[in-house]
């Protein structure tokens, strides 16, 4: 290109000159001529309540020149006689003021009507909220940063209708996010994350304090621009940029205490002994299992108390931002320290971000966004949560250096020992960077290119200590049993991944009379590489400095190395058209290709169309004063989900299949998994109908959306006699299932500024969703959620909700022998659960209770989710609360259901209130020896309402600050203060399992509660 351009330079330049001349003549002469007579304009921006407004964008209309006000509301900008200054700020109505020779322009901005002038990020661009035809919601960075949680996704819980967030107390965990229901069965159900325009799948490296706003794209009109990856919705994160003006230095810090939000009470030693002895004496061997002597010699251990802890949580952020006419900068450093609530758990994250923007000229801007994050985690084996439930309470946890021997008491390992004798530590380093250039050769054309990289380096070292249960080195109070580690083991794992995304877009914006056009076309390419290496050796010394593979026995060495790689290439386009600001049209089209699918199915095409009608802007609405805003939207579109493992369509050989010839090993290959060579993405077609309104002088605004999503070609397993092909699991994955998600979402927002010193806001949202499988088309109903010997607990079948519980129906308790005689459970004892005999081999009750009597009993998916949030500002005090709830979901209490040894512990309530001839009125069965079958007895309501966040702040008045600080605010905050729920387990929010078996509580990290004190300082 370059070498060719030289000979043609003159001709090319001339042509471009001509073009440029032509367009500048017709469209923006002001830009050309205004340059010559510019002078400095200064002034102050205040709100309608009289406060100075900082951070207001001040722009010379039609140019790229802009600045923003400082904390005292003052600004200065170079403008000309004929310039028009545009003042805009989130939450305020944008104002345009002609300069007309004035050198001082003071402006008062009115709180905006709703948030209509607000700009929302919509994917490869931004749009004014009032022009959007899709269902889009925004949450401000301030709202997100307020909460002491790790990721932004966690912080939007309860803020947006139709966005279900399941959070865990596990430090460094990603919350489960479901937008408008569960969108897939076997594929990934997580939404797409886009950070500053760059697609990513993990936002744990983003410091919440660095976020300006988060926009959630819910319907196809909004998401289809992301095509094959948009079916689960899109979360767009915009990070902070510097603003032109004085340097702003800010420190935000928080120190608090984290603890388990809810506990489960387990039986103490005596209650425990009574229970298990009763089970054994009346229903078992006839003899006591626990002797008085054992109790007398033992302790009374609360195992949860033993494995849980309170820990310190800290967040510290420092940022420096500012800018001049040619450069805007934002630099931040953040630290998160979170010790978790399980012993030995620990987490730290350090982040650095530098977002710079360089204005090389009126036409050319470059920007670099670079972020680095470093995490250190000592992880815990969540299995301890289950065994702490079962561990016998009379066994002491640890006395001195010796542990209680739970493998002797009830054949499980000592949970504390498990935690202390396993060191699973990892370190992550992640570097994300985007370099982009924006070129506006002519005012109506913007060319943008951006190149982003995401580098991830992860290293895990897991050391398993050696310990024995007999002899001189016995570490147990009582020797014997079966918990021991004969040889220490070190496992090292190093992963690295490298992703780049290159986006190129051109945007043409034109206004012709009342017609507003904006056309975006673009192309993107993306490539991802991943490599993981793992090695293990035995007999590595205990000394941490020796935790290298070389320190172990060479003959015991194992190693493994594998990787992944994929690429994508996409073309995208979007047309926005509006007429008279009343009639809106958005049409998008994306063509996506990915290496994950076979060449004949490689390209997918994803169109959408959205229509909007700003009714309140119609002439016939001019006379009314009920509606400040009334807008109707309708959209249709098609989006895809390609979240499957790479090359699932490719028959792959299993390597290193050994056999011995001549006494030495020969490594063969085999094909063990049948595949569908025609695999493709899942397609979701979505309709959305929305109404937005604002009344009472914008005090009350709201949105109602109805949507209907149909997912087709969803991945499902076809069961077949796979051995015919050497396929051990008897199934292969193909695109066959269909299902729908449909629902209604309501949001209401009340904002009132009562006086200069007092304003408040209250908003609520509620979203109903119904998920139904409407066709398996040859696929098999998927059973999942195995709990011990109970077998599966969920079944996803035609006509049902994905992940429905499919279990026996507990129907009270047998009170006496007479009730048992003639029942379907002739071997039952009084006090046993009675199950409904629903069916048999011939479809009729057969007098036998078995798997044929299972029935659908609801699912983990809630019928509706809701949030209620509010804030009050009174003088220097600010108060806010956020709450969230779900209703109609079910939870399977699997830690209770998995109790399988006659000597396993039970909950206090079970021990106290079990059925006995003297306590017939209970719903808890008699003392049991064995694991009970999967039934509704273990199924509980997962509904809950929780106060997510409560914050009270005080901003020191200016006179106290003595000009040392721009701002100084202190606050106290409580995260997860209170949960109201009928669920008896640790948390009604279950972040475990997959789409088919979520909602089973067995080994999960409990939800945590944090009380913290924080400061915000602005220098």
């Amino acid at each position: 290109m370059k070498s060719n351009s030289t000979p043609n330079k003159d001709a090319g330049t001339w042509r471009l000159n001509f073009l440029f001349f032509f367009f500048t003549l017709t469209l923006c002469s002001s830009v050309l001529f205004g340059q010559n007579t510019s002078f400095l304009v200064t002034g102050k921006v205040t709100s309608d309540s009289g406060n100075a407004l900082g951070g207001v964008s001040v722009q010379v209309k039609g140019t790229a020149r802009g600045t923003s006000t400082d904390a005292t509301g003052n600004y200065g900008i170079s403008a000309s006689e004929t310039s028009v200054l545009v003042f805009s700020s989130i939450g305020y109505t944008t104002q345009e003021v002609p300069v007309a020779g004035k050198q001082v322009i003071n402006v008062t901005l009115n709180a905006s009507s709703g948030q209509l002038e607000q700009v929302v990020v919509v994917g490869y661009g931004t749009q004014r909220k009032r022009d959007v035809t899709g269902s889009v919601a925004s949450v401000s960075g301030a709202e997100i940063a307020k909460q002491p949680v790790l990721t932004a996704a966690q912080a939007i819980q309860g803020k947006v209708a139709g966005v279900q967030i399941l959070t865990s107390g596990d430090p460094n965990s990603s919350p489960t996010v479901r937008i408008r229901g569960v969108g897939t069965m076997l594929g990934g159900a997580a939404p797409l994350y886009v950070v500053d325009g760059v697609i990513t799948d993990d936002i744990r490296n983003i410091n919440s304090a660095d976020i300006t706003s988060m926009d959630i794209l819910k319907d196809a009109s909004a998401t289809a621009i992301y095509g094959m990856r948009a079916a689960n919705g899109v979360l767009l994160i915009t990070t902070k940029k510097g603003r032109t003006g004085k340097m702003v230095v800010a420190y935000d810090g928080l120190v608090g205490v984290k603890e388990v939000a809810r506990l489960v009470n387990m039986a103490g030693s005596n209650q425990y002994a009574n229970y298990v002895n009763e089970a054994s004496i009346y229903y078992g061997s006839g003899d006591s299992l626990i002797r008085g002597a054992q109790l007398a010699a033992g302790g009374n251990t609360d195992w949860y108390d033993v494995i849980l802890k309170k820990s310190l949580q800290q967040n510290h952020n420092v940022s420096i931002s500012g800018g001049s006419e040619s450069i805007n900068y934002f630099l931040s450093a953040g630290y998160v320290g979170d010790g978790g609530v399980i012993k030995t758990n620990d987490f730290e994250r350090f982040t650095l971000r530098s977002n710079n923007e360089y204005k090389l000229s009126r036409m050319l801007r470059l920007s670099t966004l670079v972020s680095y994050s470093r995490t250190n985690l000592r992880d815990v084996d969540l299995g301890v949560f289950d065994i702490a439930y079962r561990a016998a309470p009379y066994v002491p946890a640890k006395v001195g250096e010796l542990y209680g021997n739970t493998s002797l008491s009830n054949n499980i390992s000592n949970p504390l020992l498990n935690l202390e004798k396993l060191n699973n530590s990892s370190m992550g380093n992640r570097l994300q960077g985007t370099f982009s250039g924006e070129y506006k050769p002519i005012p109506w054309l913007t060319l943008r290119t951006s190149y982003g990289v995401d580098l991830n380096f992860y290293r895990n070292s897991t050391y398993r200590y050696r310990y024995t249960n007999t002899g001189a080195n016995n570490i147990f109070l009582t020797s014997g049993g079966n918990q021991l580690v004969n040889r220490s083991q070190l496992a090292l794992q190093a992963d690295n991944s490298n992703k780049w995304v290159w986006d190129n877009t051109a945007t043409i914006t034109k206004v012709i009379g009342a017609h507003n056009f904006s056309l975006l076309v673009g192309a993107t390419a993306e490539e991802y590489r991943f490599n993981t290496t793992r090695g293990t050796r035995l007999d590595v010394p205990e000394n941490e400095d020796q935790w290298y593979l070389d320190a172990g026995v060479p003959a015991s060495a194992t190693n493994a190395n594998s990787g992944d790689r994929w690429a994508r290439n996409s073309y995208l386009s979007r047309l926005n058209y509006s007429f008279n600001n009343r009639y809106l049209l958005t049409a998008t089209y994306r063509a996506d290709a990915t290496s994950r699918f076979p060449s004949q199915n490689r390209w997918g095409y994803f169109p959408s169309i959205g229509l909007g009608w700003n009714i309140s802007r119609e002439d016939f609405m001019a006379g009314q004063n009920l509606f400040d805003n009334l807008k109707l939207r309708a959209s249709w579109g098609r989006v895809g989900n390609d979240q499957i493992s790479s090359n699932l369509y490719n028959p792959l050989a299993t390597l290193n299949v050994p056999y011995y010839y001549n006494g030495s090993e020969y490594l063969g290959i085999s094909f063990n998994q049948a595949v569908d060579k025609n695999l493709k993405w899942e397609t979701t077609e979505e309709y959305d109908l929305g109404l937005e309104f604002a009344i009472l002088k914008n005090k009350l605004s709201g949105t109602i959306d109805y949507y209907h999503k149909t997912t087709r070609d969803a991945l499902i397993n076809i069961f077949f006699n796979g051995q015919v092909l050497g396929d051990i699991d008897n199934q292969y994955t193909t695109n066959a299932a269909n299902f729908t998600n449909k629902g209604v979402e309501f949001s209401l927002n009340w904002t009132d500024r009562v006086s200069k010193n007092f304003d408040y806001n209250l908003n609520g949202n509620i979203a109903f969703n119904q998920n139904r499988i409407i066709g398996l088309n040859g696929g098999q109903a998927l059973t999942s959620g195995s709990v011990g010997s109970q077998g599966f607990t969920t079944k996803s079948d035609n006509g049902q909700t994905i992940g429905s519980f499919f279990i026996l129906q507990a129907d009270g308790i047998f009170q006496n022998a007479a009730e048992i005689t003639g029942s379907a459970q002739p071997n039952a004892q009084p006090g046993d659960l009675r199950y409904k005999d629903l069916s048999g081999p011939n479809g009729k009750p057969d007098g036998i209770i078995n798997d044929l009597d299972r029935a659908y009993s609801g699912s983990y998916q809630p019928k509706f989710t809701f949030g209620l949030n509010g804030s009050v500002n009174y003088a220097a005090f600010d108060f806010s609360f956020g709450s969230y709830g779900t209703s109609g979901g079910k939870i399977y209490n699997a830690k209770k259901a998995a109790r399988s040894d006659a000597r396993d512990n039970v909950e206090t309530e079970v021990a106290k209130n079990r059925w006995t001839p003297n306590n017939p009125g209970t719903n808890i069965p008699r003392a049991n020896l064995n694991q009970l079958p999967a039934s509704t007895y273990f199924l509980e309501s997962g509904s809950f309402w929780r106060i997510n966040n409560l914050t009270l702040g005080y901003t020191l008045p200016g006179n106290l600050l003595a000009n040392r600080f721009q701002r100084l605010r202190v606050y106290v905050t409580a995260q997860n203060l209170l949960t109201i729920t009928g669920y008896s387990g640790f948390t009604p929010e279950i972040v475990s399992g997959n789409n088919l078996n979520a909602g089973i509580e067995q080994t999960i990290y409990p939800t945590t509660r944090t009380f913290a004190f924080g400061v915000n300082v602005g220098l």
Partner: protein, 513 residues
């Protein structure tokens, strides 16, 4: 000047929109670190590797999908009068080996399904290897040898299946996944059809494999002798005595095999002064195990599953299944050296005296009060003291080569064929070769005597039940042994429920189940 730069950028910006990745190649990414089918076909070594993958299925065992491992021992021995379930009375009883031992008709029993799955996995891998070999361009001799090996294994697996279940689906090619649910693969072929497949496969192997020790053979791979022996055995099951004779004659005349002088060295890992051990002079086909780091070149649980089970207090050797029956212990003629080489006898506990059992390697088993069962299978014993030690302490992965075909059996098949064809002298001669090795006096080569000899010689090698069925006297013998054997039902095991479900009910159940 500045403006000029911008124009150049504009010119550059337009092609940027095209994105370098437009080329189709950008999206053609092969799986990383994994071999696709297409690539497998291209590699000249792939055919050999695929056949290696078929041999690998000989390891399938444990409580999982199984070919000739632990669960096959349950079918061959525990179902017969040679052994009892073993272990504790309740262990692996209902739903496990107890159903097999007592002929409880339970098509849901996992053993049947595991045997079915394991064998079909082997067959599927053989089909794949054969498929790819057929389209491969490697040199003909090598190709036919590899084809011969794959078809030998396929024939061998079908022989086990047809003996265990009767007619089974005939799968001799690689269908597309969507074809799999068709009737062709989901209905049972007749017993005769399956035998036709077996005969064709084994005959191909006989025709294309080389004699043991000649060029192109490797210890552990199937040889012409192995193919002849199994083909002879199949013909014996079909009472085609002439063919049995010819084929066993071929093995004998190859002069590659001799009986190991000491019977008790046949099942050891290491030879003693060059005699016995793994792949000894009478071994015709055996599972080749070895110890790699992953310990996955073994038939899991084969030794451990049958190893002596303690009652606590000592580091025992296994689960104690497949315990030789009192009937077997009493069956041997006086002086038969095979009795103590086949059965580990646990001594009664005598107060005040060490009455433990010392095994050949000096390993001491305590007396009865510390051991669960009175007898264990010596042929499955892997010495923790003198044979290959493992890296891990995992008892399940002891490297025990399973002897599948021995020269002694060839001699007995030859003898039986000769007896049936009226050549009593030849029958007697070979029968007595086997007897004299066991330190027994000469006998006459009648079919009845040969059948007796088969039991003594092959006891606890998982052949007895099928042999009784072949002999047509399983019912008589097993009922006399106290088992509820039902004629017309128990000659074969039930078609596993799981398989019938997968076939959508098209796989018919065996009579009486």
């Amino acid at each position: 000047m500045i403006r000029y730069t911008h124009y150049k950028l504009l010119v550059l910006a337009v092609p940027l929109l095209m994105v370098a990745g437009c080329s189709k190649k950008f999206l053609e990414i092969d799986p990383q670190g994994q071999l696709t089918e297409v690539q497998a076909l291209r590699d000249p070594e792939a055919a050999n590797q695929l056949v290696g993958g078929v041999y690998n299925t000989l390891y399938l065992g444990g409580f999982d999908n199984s070919t000739v491992g632990f669960q096959w021992a349950i079918l061959g021995d525990v179902a017969s009068d040679d052994s009892d379930k073993g272990s504790t009375p309740s262990d692996y009883d209902a739903g496990g080996a107890g159903d097999v031992d007592n002929f409880r008709p339970n098509p849901a029993n996992g053993i049947y399904n595991n045997i079915w799955n394991g064998h079909y996995l082997g067959i599927a891998r053989a089909n794949k290897a054969i498929d790819i070999l057929n389209s491969s361009t490697i040199e003909t001799t090598a190709k036919n040898r590899l084809l011969g090996e794959a078809r030998f294994l396929r024939g061998f697996y079908y022989f086990n299946l047809v003996r265990a279940f009767g007619g089974v689906p005939k799968v001799v090619r690689v269908p597309e996944p969507a074809e799999v649910n068709s009737d062709e693969f989901q209905t049972r072929a007749s017993v005769a059809d399956i035998y036709a497949v077996i005969l064709e496969d084994l005959q191909f192997a006989v025709d294309n494999l080389s004699v043991k020790g000649t060029a192109g053979t490797q210890l552990g791979r199937a040889t012409k002798g192995a193919a002849q022996s199994y083909l002879a055995k199949v013909y014996m099951y079909q009472k085609n005595w002439q063919k049995t004779l010819e084929l066993t004659q071929g093995v004998i005349n190859s002069n590659q095999y001799t009986l190991v002088p000491n019977y008790n060295l046949v099942f050891r890992e290491k030879a003693v002064s060059g005699v016995g051990g793994a792949n000894n002079s009478e071994s015709i086909f055996e599972v080749q195990t070895g110890l790699n780091v992953a310990e996955n070149a073994v038939s899991p649980l084969y030794s451990n599953g049958q190893g002596p089970r303690g009652r606590g207090g000592w580091n025992d050797l296994g689960f104690g299944f497949n315990s030789p029956s009192a009937d077997l212990a009493g069956f041997y003629e006086p002086g038969d050296t095979r009795r103590n080489a086949t059965i580990i006898f646990i001594n009664p506990t005598v107060a005040g005296r060490d009455n433990g059992t010392y095994l050949w390697d000096g390993f001491r088993l305590p007396s009865q009060d510390s051991v669960e069962n009175p007898r264990y299978n010596y042929k499955a014993y892997h010495s923790p003291l003198l044979e290959s030690g493992q890296l891990t302490s995992n008892k399940d992965t002891k490297p025990k080569n399973i002897r599948l075909m021995r020269y002694a059996e060839v001699l007995l098949m030859y003898a039986e064929a000769q007896a049936m064809l009226g050549n009593a002298a030849e029958a007697t001669a070979k029968l007595n070769m086997v007897r004299s090795r066991a330190n027994l006096p000469a006998s006459t080569g009648t079919q009845a005597n040969i059948w007796r000899e088969r039991r003594a010689e092959l006891a606890m090698e998982h052949d007895r039940f099928f042999d009784l069925v072949r002999q047509g006297r399983a019912g008589t013998v097993l009922r006399a042994h106290g088992k509820p054997f039902v004629d017309g039902r128990n000659e074969v095991f039930p078609i596993p429920n799981a398989q019938r479900d997968l076939s959508g009910g098209r796989l018919t159940q065996n009579n009486g189940y």
